[in-house]
Structures are given as structure tokens and as C-alpha cells.
């Protein structure tokens, strides 16, 4: 058997069957940050349809979908994390957190519009997200992931953002 074929086979043999995980470390960092944001945000008491769950809604398909999978089922402030991919703006009802990736630039405003009816924490890595009414926007500075917060947008939806989170946005510049 040719050595090249042998090398390919042994390489594939070593692949453990696996659920999807993003290789882009950029998204792994964003996914971990997204999960952490939820720890420092308080939703109004009546916004949880199901008391035991906190739902992260992900718009469309992006590398973050795979990166955030490991958080599924974890406990966050006494509630179980649920990850839900959605494809239409009218599906945002029931979400606590909504993530809009860069690939959904065209429909971002439609999602923001729909979300404005509910107490949903909107997060994205689109440019100028917070300026257009989004609550938390990711950006990169010196190869590190940073975020900025539009507090007004959050307060309009009765979301309480901890001062701890607000303080982090002023550091590192």
C-alpha cells in the first residue's frame, strides 16, 4: 500500500466521532463571552415563559453555532441553557438572548425590529450594531475580542445590565 494512502488512513482513523465544533477560535471566544453576558444581565420577572430555561437564539448558520453547542444544558443562574437556531424574524418570541452573525447583515434590522417587542438581549458582531439599536456589539482590537454596550436600548426593554459588565467596556482601549 502506498505510504501516502497509509498516512491518510491512519489520520482518518484517529478522528473521534464528534459533534460539530468551530475551528475559528474567534467564534469560540465570542461564544464564551455570549454565555458570560447572560450571567450579568437581569431579565424582567415575567419574561420567562418556562421558568427553568434560558434560551439563546442564533440567527442563521455561523461558526458561532458550533462553538456555543458545549454550553447546551449547562446551568446559568439556576436555569438550564437552551440553544435554538432560528431562520425567521418572527421566531424571536421566547428568546432571552438573540445573536445575529455578520452573515445576516441584510436582515439584521428586521430582527432588531421584531426583538423590540420583547425583552431580548440582542448581540452581534456586525459593524455599528449598537448604533442601529443593538444592545451588545463585538469588535476586535489588537487581535482581541472586545464589546460595546448600548445601555439605552437595553433599558428600553427593561433589561438590567450589571455595572460589572459596563465597566469592562471601558477597559483595554
Amino acid at each position: 500500500m502506498s505510504p501516502l494512502r497509509l498516512l491518510i488512513i491512519l489520520f482518518l482513523l484517529l478522528v473521534p466521532a464528534t459533534a460539530s465544533v468551530a475551528t475559528e477560535s474567534e467564534y469560540q471566544v465570542k461564544a464564551a463571552m455570549l454565555y458570560n453576558f447572560a450571567k450579568f444581565v437581569d431579565w424582567p420577572a415575567d419574561s420567562f415563559a418556562n421558568e427553568n430555561r434560558i434560551t439563546f437564539c442564533l440567527v442563521g448558520k455561523s461558526p458561532l453555532n458550533g462553538a456555543i453547542q458545549p454550553m447546551q444544558g449547562k446551568s446559568l443562574k439556576g436555569r438550564t441553557v437552551v440553544i435554538r437556531p432560528i431562520v425567521r424574524p418572527d421566531e424571536v418570541d421566547g428568546c432571552q438572548i438573540l445573536f445575529i452573525p455578520q452573515s445576516e447583515r441584510a436582515r439584521a434590522s428586521a430582527y432588531l425590529q421584531q426583538s423590540s417587542h420583547y425583552p431580548i438581549l440582542t448581540v452581534s458582531d456586525l459593524e455599528k450594531f449598537t448604533v442601529s439599536g443593538g444592545m451588545i456589539g463585538f469588535f476586535e482590537d489588537d487581535d482581541k475580542i472586545r464589546f460595546e454596550i448600548n445601555l439605552e436600548a437595553a433599558q428600553k426593554r427593561r433589561l438590567q445590565i450589571s455595572s460589572y459588565l459596563l465597566n469592562l467596556t471601558r477597559r483595554g482601549r
Binding site: 478522528v15 460539530s20 465544533v21 477560535s25 463571552m33 458570560n36 482581541k144
Partner: protein, 680 residues
Amino acid sequence: MNIMTRRMILCSVTVFQLVFGLSAWCDEQSLQAAQDDLSDLSLEQLMQVKVEKVVTASRFSQRVTEAPASMSVIASDDIRKYGYRTLADVLRSVPGLYVSNDRNYSYLGVRGFSRPGDFNSRILLQIDGHRLNDNIFDTAAIGTEFPLDIDLIDRIEFMRGPGSSLYGSNAFFGVINIITRTSEDVKREFSASTARYNTWSGRASYGVSSDSGLDVLLSGTLYDSSGQSSLYFPEFASAPGGGYSHHSDYDSSKSAYARVSLSDFTLTGLFGSRKKGIPTGAFGTVFNDPDARTIDERGYLDLSYRKSYSDSLEVSARLFYDHYGFDGVYITDNGDSTSTRNLDTALGSWWGAESVVSLKPLTDHTLSFGAEFRHNLAQNQKNIDVAPAVTNLDDRRNSVNWGLFAQDEYHLLKPLRVTVGVRYDNYDTFNAINPRAGLVYTPAETTALKLLYGEAFRAPNAYERFYQDGGNSSVGNPDLKPEKIKTIDVIWEQYFLDNYRSSLGGFYYRVTDLISQTTNGANKLIYRNIEQAEALGVALSLEGTWQNGSKGRLSYNWQQATDVNSGALLSNSPRHLAKANMSIPLFRQQLFVSPELQYASPRLTLDGTRTNDPVTANLTLFSRDLGFKGLEASASIYNLFNVHTQDVAGEEHQQQPNLPPLLTILQDGINFRFKLSYRF
């Protein structure tokens, strides 16, 4: 591929399977730990994580898929896990590259091109953007002569292909940019290692970052190796001593690094010196005389400034002073059982300034402008015989060169980026203009198609132009012209199944006015622009990252590099290169086992004979924070199968007056290294 090689492959399959079995058993723990890895970090910690970006392809930061070049990035994590000892070890693992070693220097082959005896002048080597190639030999030092301890490296960016449109001379086949670690990353660190042949090394580093913005990093390293106490050269069996060279393969070095940053300014100082014994009788030195040795010294002071004025303007500027010293002691064999002690020295010093401005005047154009100036204060070469005292060469030169470049990356359509750039370089005897053009098409975040064209040049260096030894064996050629290369690349990069990244590429290049060493009418060695070379190649690689923290890469390169005039294959050019790397966590993210395999097909020596083609295997066990926080320990076995690779020798190994030429140099057999590092 012969039976021995087949057996080695089977051996390695068994090794891999054993390792896999072990890892599957430990899978559960690793799985949980990998998931915990990032989500357990606090937001402050997450904000300190650096995401994978490259700066070398366009001189500004961009994603690997968008860069108009074929790039490989090796992180410090890989350097630790695979137990790489030098930059040469790292480059040996990079797809498409191969390294030859003549027991004095390490020579890098890219895209099938590696001239025995050329000091990597066709590769640009930089540390944090500071050019390391010296102003006499244009050396890109990658072995123990590299003046920075690789423990201080954060990542290595290797850009394949011509880079002269941004970087000027020497960026012929590629650019290697070494990016150093931050002081917050280093903190207080001690490291020590030991290996076969009485090899020891120690390092102490201190890094501190204060709230006022003052950042300091200091580090010093010592390295010493006795080398094999006796080396056998079958070609020299008729020499007195029967072909054995004793205590001549010694290698010792010391280096220091200091960096101070305040606000947007960074002052860096670096110095390294390496002494190496010459066991091969190169340059006609008496075989088995342990006094023959070379000392290479490299140092620089660099003041750089970098600031982003807004989202759309970034300025960087640099002022530098460099020093290079070469000190060779050659005990020349006169051929009549007498010898002459010959001292061959070179001194290079230069200073310069450069500036790069990146701006985005409109949302879809990223413009870069740059200017570089270099004043070579000294390019001195000297060669003297000690007794009777004769000065064969005392050449002193100084020169000025400067360059200007401009590049535009036009984000034409959402998935389409067009890059065009050109650089003008002015040297004392010629001017050079080198353009580049590239199309990068990314129809999806996971796919990139690149079509690239670039030209590059290499200015003839002081050694090729002015070195001569009083007519004994070589003469200079001041009228040498620059070499030129034109390259076309087609690349397809694809991420798929969320775990894999694949890359398939093809290239064609043509080199004209290739400077080669030949003999003139009086049978003296002289450099002339006499050759032309061309090559065609295909590169395939597949990388995977898995949930439990395992990583792997498989690569295969095919290339055919030929001399245009004769149609013959170039010497020291393998047709096939194949490499496999795997890193598997055995226990959480604290213990890793990383095997590695490398294969290069036979290469032609200067006399047209073929070298062997064994498979080299390395294995490293690496632990981090296991037992003690801050402790990193590794145990490595290099050349596990104890094969004896033949590396192609150069012209300087054919100058023994009474002995046959050395066509290949046998590399070391199995070796090991234990290394401990403690950070607190």
C-alpha cells in the same frame, strides 16, 4: 519506496494507533476539559485571548482566508507540544518546506529550491517586522545561529511566494515573520533542557507590564552542545585517522533580548552569538582539526512606533541600528601535510528607518504606503593567513539603498477582494520594480479562492560581489545583477464539517539571472548570473481540530524544479514531500502526546547522485500545569527510527586537496531532549 521505509511506515501506524487507543480512553476527561476551557474563563480573561490573525501578507492584520497569499502560522503552543528545538525544527514541519544541515548552518528549501551553500538569502527573515538578513551574506539564520530563543516566540507567520512588492530584496521564495510573546505572557520564567551529546541549555526571562503602560521584557539564554565525540565520513576513509572527525561538532551560543514599551513606542535590543565547530573539512580545511570553527554574531537596536489614529488610519515607523559579525578560523590544508591558519572575518553594520501607513479613505479600499531607507556603514570582509602573515582580502564597502511601496486592497464586491501593489527599490548599481496582483474570492465564510501573481528580486550581496581570497581559489564579481522571479499561485482553501480546514494549491515560477558559483578561465570560483530555473508544483494539506482538543495536519507537496537551459532537475530538490502531525491530549488539557512524521523523496547531489529518502519520526510528551501550576515539562524523542538522512553537501565540501569530495552529509541518528520550564 523500499522495504525499510515501508516497515517504518507500518511502525508509525502502530505508534499512532497505540497513541489513539490511549487518547480514546482519556477522551471523556479531555472532552469536558476542552469545553470548560473557554467557558470557565472570566470575561476579563476572555478579553485577553488573541484570535488567529496574520500580519505578514499585507503588513496589516487580516484573517488568514482573506490574505492575498498562501500562509502557514505556527503558534507557540505547537512549538511546545512538538518539542521543536530551533526555528529549523519548526520549519521542517511546515508543508512544502525542507531543511538541509551541513553541520555548520541550516539551509531552507522552499518550493523545491535549495542551493547547497546559500545562506537562505532568498528568504526574508524578520523578528517583529525587523529584517534579520545581514548586509554581507543576506543570511536568514534558522538553526542554532538564530539569535532569539524560540521560547520567546508567540507565533511564526510564513508567507509563501514573492514578497518584494512589500518587503524589497530577499523576499524571493517567502517571508518568515517571527512575532514575540508579550511580557504579560512571559512573566517570570526559567527554563532548562538537556539532550544527547552533552547538550545543555538554560534561560531566564522576566516580563512585567505595569498600569502606567510601561512594559518590559528581559531574557537571556545559554546553550552548549559537545556534539558527537566522533563522526565518521566514509568518503574520507583514506585520511589519517581513518575518516573520523573527533570533537569537532561542538555548538554553543548565548543570546539576550530586551524590550521596553511605553505608550505607542517600543525599544528592542537583541544580541546573539554562536560558535560552531566544522567537522566536515569544508573550505579545504584540515580534516579532523577541532580548531576549525565559525562564530556568527547578530545584534540590533530597534525603536518602533505604532498607532491607530482611528478605524481608518494606522501608522507605524521604525528606526534601527544593526550589527553582524562573522569570525571564521580555517586551518587550510595545503595538500602537502602542512597547514595554514587562515582567519576569515566579516563585519556588517547598518542603520535605517522605515515607515508604513495604512488607511481606508473609502470603505472598500485599504491603501498602504511605505518607505524604507538603509545606510550600510560597513560591509567589510577580511581574509588573512596567520603565519606567514599575508592579507588576502581587506575589502571595505559602504552603500545606501532605499525603497518605496504602495498597495491597494480593493473590496470590489462583497466576496471579492483585489490587491495590487508595487515597490521600487534603489541600489547603487541598479533599480528594481516589483509588482503584485491578487484576487481573493470568498463566496462563503468557509471558502476562499485565490489567484495570485507576484515578482520579486534578490540584490547580489557583498559576499558574492567582493569576496576573493587573493586569487587563491576565488575572485569577486562587482558587476553582478539582481536575480528575478515571477510566480503564479492558484489556491483553494476550504473549511468543512466544522472541524477541518483543507488547502489545495498550484504554483509556477521562473527565476532569471540566478546567481551561481562557477569557475572562470583561471579555474577560480566566481559568482555569475548564469542560470535560469523554473518550477511547477502542487500543494495539498488537511488540518483538523476536534472537540477533545486534538489537532492534526496532513500535507503532501509535489514539485519539479528544473534548470531552464539543460532541463535537468535542480540539485537538492525533492519531488515529493509528505508530512503528518498529530497532537492529542491524554489528560484534560494538561498532558499531550504529539507524534510527527516527515518524508522527502531523494535529492540530487552536486555530482548528480541521489540521496536516500528515509522517513523521520519525532515524538514529544508535553505537560502543562500538571501537578504544579506554572510548570511545563516535556520529553522528546527525535528521529525515533534512528534513520540516517543524507543531506546534500555544497561546493565547499569538495575542496579537500587530497581527498574525494563530500557529496552528502549524514545527519544525526536518534536523539532525545528533556525540558523543564517554570513560570510564576
